[in-house]
């Protein structure tokens, strides 16, 4: 009860977040589409059975004569028609259950059979309460790390390698595939593919502590050309603006606590406790899909993250207004 007073208003957003689809029955890829197909089959079969059971109960209530407490109880009435009906109902139910089991296992096989030729490999590491994504490449200089925003090309299979840095999380993009847990000490994989261009919302589905609620990410499926362009941009080290304000912001970043936890490629800041900020300005949102990525929100987040995501691991940063403004300008200049 004391905790009632322990947190300030956590209300996070004032600028609207970008809209991203999140609906398991609006599939944008083969995995989710197969599952949706299975869904409609099961809903259909179950719906019919449910309706029949209800009708039987209602009809029984309607047809049975009324009684009171004093009505003598009937003790013998073995009606062979009733017995036959019960037996048939059980047989039909069993057959339907077997049908559903077979359909489910068949769907499972189809999901496992997604062709993985030319698959994109992305390593996902979940942290309390954000997502780290490392894009693998045969060429070491082409590897890069980003956070809370995953881009994939339309029409190509993607293999996500899933790990956790702390507690159990679960990765879920409803429009594309089912979820998979990220368990410390274990490695799991999730394969998915997007056939339609678009922004899809993902969120942690396994309770993981204080900010389980605000541990989202954006998955953008792009046409291959745009995806390639994004890839090229992400592979670059951070932009170095010559403008005075941005340079000062860079000093604030490197001289303060920020660099202890955050990395910005090309600056020497290599902290790995928090999200990689090399291309922060290219992302749609900050704080794991919690706030729209605007300078105002960035300033709010930096100065008091606990007011927005109570319990988050990022400490408040008490900066003079000028420094804060410069830092925000610098971070906003990292496309």
């Amino acid at each position: 009860m004391v905790a009632l007073m322990a947190w300030e208003n956590p209300s996070p957003a004032d600028a609207a977040l970008p809209t991203a689809a999140h609906n398991a029955l609006a599939p944008a890829g083969p995995q989710a589409a197969h599952i949706a197909g299975l869904w409609y089959l099961i809903v259909g079969v179950c719906g019919i059975v449910f309706t029949l059971v209800l009708l039987a109960v209602l009809y029984a209530i309607w047809r049975a004569p009324r009684a009171t407490e004093t009505t003598p109880a009937a003790l013998h009435d073995d009606n062979p028609r009733i017995r036959r009906s019960v037996v048939w109902a059980v047989i039909v139910s069993t057959a339907l259950l077997i049908l559903l089991t077979v359909a489910s296992i068949a769907t499972d096989r189809v999901l496992a059979g997604l062709s993985l030729t030319d698959a994109i490999h992305i390593d996902i590491t979940a942290h309390q309460w954000w997502w780290e994504a490392r894009y693998d490449d045969a060429q070491p200089s082409n590897r890069f790390t980003t956070a809370n925003e995953i881009h994939i090309p339309v029409g190509k299979p993607v293999i996500l390698t899933l790990k956790s840095d702390d507690v159990i999380h679960s990765l879920w993009v409803p429009n594309l595939a089912g979820k998979k847990d990220l368990i410390p000490g274990r490695t799991a994989t999730l394969t998915l593919q997007a056939d339609r261009e678009g922004d899809y919302r993902g969120q942690c589905a396994e309770f993981c502590g204080y900010q389980h609620s605000y541990m989202a990410f954006l998955l953008r499926a792009d046409v291959p050309a745009r995806y390639q362009a994004w890839l090229e941009a992400q592979r670059q080290p951070a932009a170095q603006s010559a403008a005075a304000l941005e340079s000062r912001g860079r000093q604030v970043f490197l001289g303060g606590n920020c660099a202890m936890c955050h990395a910005i490629e090309g600056t020497g800041a290599g902290g790995r406790h928090g999200p990689d900020l090399t291309h922060l300005a290219s992302r749609e949102s900050i704080a794991a899909g919690t706030l729209a990525n605007t300078p105002e929100n960035l300033a709010r987040w930096i100065s008091d993250p606990q007011a927005i995501k109570p319990g988050a691991n990022m400490p408040p940063t008490d900066l003079p207004p000028d420094d804060l403004q410069a830092l925000v300008a610098y971070l906003s200049s990292l496309p």
């Binding site: 449910f50 029984a60 489910s104 847990d181 000490g185 490695t187 919302r201 589905a205 502590g209």
Partner: protein
């Protein structure tokens, strides 16, 4: 003729009352061991925790009613949903079924007492202290916040420092100890204390359901006790059961927890099936159709429920082949439930219906539980489960199953048996009002959650952004909660009003057929003035029929030769219920209460220092020895009363 007890001379009734009643006054309250006193307290306590759990749920619905609500923060919210789940699962749903059984099973099988009455009192006190400890910790801002499922490593020492999770894990030790003891007590009661003639094929279906439940408790609860003990050891003395860095494994906890957790769902559901069978038989004015099929279904459900636990872990990286097996098992458990549902429909179809409140609650089962069962099939399917697992779809599913399968039948059972407990009927109009408010409120609250899950809303979130679009459905769900609260207010009002001024019930207000209705309402301390002899599945109806067909009641109709001046009971054989021996039961005692206090000291102490296990076990041992030790005067009188028929 149902009142054949009344023919018995009054002095025997008075003598029995003298022998079997609990000691008077407040001090006597702590020494009480009569299963009806303990059962009543047990039922009231479980309902107290139920109302607390509902209140917590109300606060959560308030928080979630609108997006980005700032009513409560994550720290409190996480405590609230953990308390809600833990309360409902550990402090309400399982204990309330055992509590009902503690009161009614001895009456339904025609026994003087429950087996091991002192142990029964001890089990109640341990349960009570465990619940009070958890709520005490919660009020001191040390409420558990890692979920009722306490997944490691979040519940481990690294990510849940402080004592919150320790209190939670120790609460499990309390409640599971209590539940395990009750299970042993009920198994012994059902196998050894049935009225002569109540062979296995005449046991009331509710008693069967509690027997199956008790066996499930025996095999399921040790898993969570072992798991939570290992969790406490990891947290307190640095063992590494769940620590992957030192060879432990986070999934070991999930296996142990769900090996308990899935049967747990069924051991809440199966007593509910027993309530339904009692209610439907009475209000359809005929025995349940297909008794052997019903019993076999209960037993099959009990067995199969141990083969489903992995369907809570489909999203982990377990081998796919194994998951297919669990899909098949999870689908197949629907068959025994279907058998029972069809048998009930056949009962209603061929019966004559007395549409009173208990039957309304029973009928709601066919809508709510069946719908929950259908969504359960979706969760059994690996691909579908991966979409809806850990979303509000599951929240909807589990409430449909647990409320439809257990709580609606439980309310029906309360309306049905309240007259037996108090001698007064609950008000029928308030009852109907409560039913409709509850039925509508329940569906308004939980039905939209299916859609929320499909739309990607995960469980256990304290807030959500407006852009997710989850606001309107959440608002509707929260409005439904108001109807549920109104319904429970009707219920409380009905209880409080009727227990004083309700219509007098008499022995058998519903014209039912089982033995608990063969005695006064409320029953005397010894349950039956004359112990009954049973000649059929529904003894009172059989007696009526026999009387109308043969002009007399079947003979013999009651037992003679069991002492009234000391606590002698009649034990019968396990299968055929032939009279077998006349053991003597213990007198009321303070020691179960004191022993529970000592146990509480040990359990709470060990949260703070492992040495409490050492020094804490001394008072426990002393209390147990004192409890066990016969008084000299008892030893002498026992020796006089003893009689061993084989001449030894």
């Amino acid at each position: 003729m149902q009142k054949h007890n009344a023919h018995q001379p009054l002095d025997q009734a008075a003598q029995l009352e003298q022998t079997w009643r609990d000691p008077p006054g407040l001090p006597g309250w702590f020494a009480a061991i009569n299963h009806k006193s303990i059962g009543k307290r047990f039922i009231y306590t479980t309902f107290l925790f139920f109302f607390l759990g509902v209140a917590i749920a109300g606060v959560m619905r308030l928080q979630l009613a609108v997006p980005q609500n700032s009513l409560i923060g994550p720290d409190l919210y996480n405590q609230l949903f953990t308390m809600h789940g833990s309360t409902m699962m550990f402090l309400f749903a399982v204990p309330v079924m055992q509590a009902m059984a503690v009161y009614f099973v001895p009456l339904m099988i025609g026994a003087r007492s429950i087996a091991f009455p002192r142990l029964n009192a001890f089990a109640y006190w341990v349960y009570l202290f465990g619940g009070l400890m958890l709520y005490g910790a919660f009020l001191l801002n040390t409420g558990p916040d890692a979920g009722w499922f306490g997944y490691v490593p979040l519940a481990g020492a690294d990510y849940s420092p402080g004592k919150r999770v320790d209190f939670w894990a120790q609460m499990i030790t309390f409640t599971e100890l209590s539940a395990l003891l009750e299970a042993v007590i009920l198994i012994t009661t059902v196998f050894k204390l049935r009225a002569p003639g109540m062979s296995l094929n005449r046991i009331p279906l509710f008693v069967w359901s509690m027997l199956v439940t008790s066996f499930m408790v025996v095999f399921a609860m040790p898993a969570v006790m072992l798991g939570s003990t290992a969790l406490l050891l990891d947290r307190l003395v640095g063992t590494h059961f769940y620590n992957p860095a030192e060879g432990g494994d986070a999934l070991l906890w999930q296996h142990l927890f769900w090996f308990f957790g899935h049967p747990e769902v069924y051991l809440i559901f199966i007593p509910g099936l027993g309530f339904l069978s009692s209610i439907i038989a009475t209000f359809a004015r005929r025995p349940i159709y297909g008794y052997p099929a019903m019993v076999l279904s209960l037993i099959t459900t009990g067995f199969l429920s141990f083969g489903l636990w992995v369907h809570h872990m489909f999203a982990t990286n377990l081998p796919e082949l194994g998951k297919s097996f669990f899909t098949a098992a999870s689908m197949m458990i629907a068959i025994p439930s279907a058998v029972q549902i069809y048998c009930w429909i056949a009962t209603l179809w061929t019966g004559r219906l007395n549409l009173k409140t208990p039957l309304l609650f029973a009928l709601a089962f066919f809508f709510i539980l069946v719908l929950g069962g259908m969504t359960g099939l979706m969760l059994a399917s690996v691909p579908l489960d991966l979409q809806v697992h850990d979303t509000y779809f599951v929240v909807a599913h589990l409430h449909y199953v647990l409320l439809g399968g257990a709580i609606f039948p439980l309310f029906g059972a309360v309306y049905y048996w309240f007259p037996k407990l108090t001698g007064r009927l609950l008000d029928e109009r308030l009852g109907r009002l409560q039913f409709w408010l509850f039925f509508i409120g329940f569906n308004v609250t939980f039905f939209p959650m299916h859609q929320l899950g499909i739309q990607g809303m995960p469980r256990r979130i304290y807030a959500y952004a407006a852009e997710t679009g989850w606001g309107p459905l959440n608002f509707i769900a929260s409005c439904g909660t108001l109807l549920i609260v109104a319904s429970l207010a009707c219920f409380l009002a009905n209880i409080l009003r009727s227990r004083r001024s309700g219509m007098a019930a008499g022995d058998n207000p519903w014209g039912a057929g089982t033995l608990e209705w063969a005695t006064a309402s409320p029953p005397p301390a010894a349950n039956f003035i004359r112990l009954p002899v049973v000649h059929g599945q529904e003894p009172l109806w059989d007696m009526q029929r026999h009387l109308s067909e043969h002009g007399q009641i079947p003979s013999p109709s009651y037992v003679e030769g069991v002492a009234a001046n000391f606590r002698q009971v009649l034990a019968t054989t396990p299968l055929d219920a032939c009279p077998d021996s006349r053991p003597q039961f213990p007198e009321p005692s303070y020691w179960p209460f004191l022993c529970a206090l000592a146990t509480t000291g040990l359990f709470i102490g060990s949260i703070f220092t492992p040495w409490a296990v050492v020094w804490g076990s001394l008072p426990v041992a002393c209390a147990m020895i004192a409890w066990f030790w016969p008084r000299h005067v008892d030893r002498v009188t026992h020796a006089e009363q003893e009689y061993r028929s084989d001449g030894a």
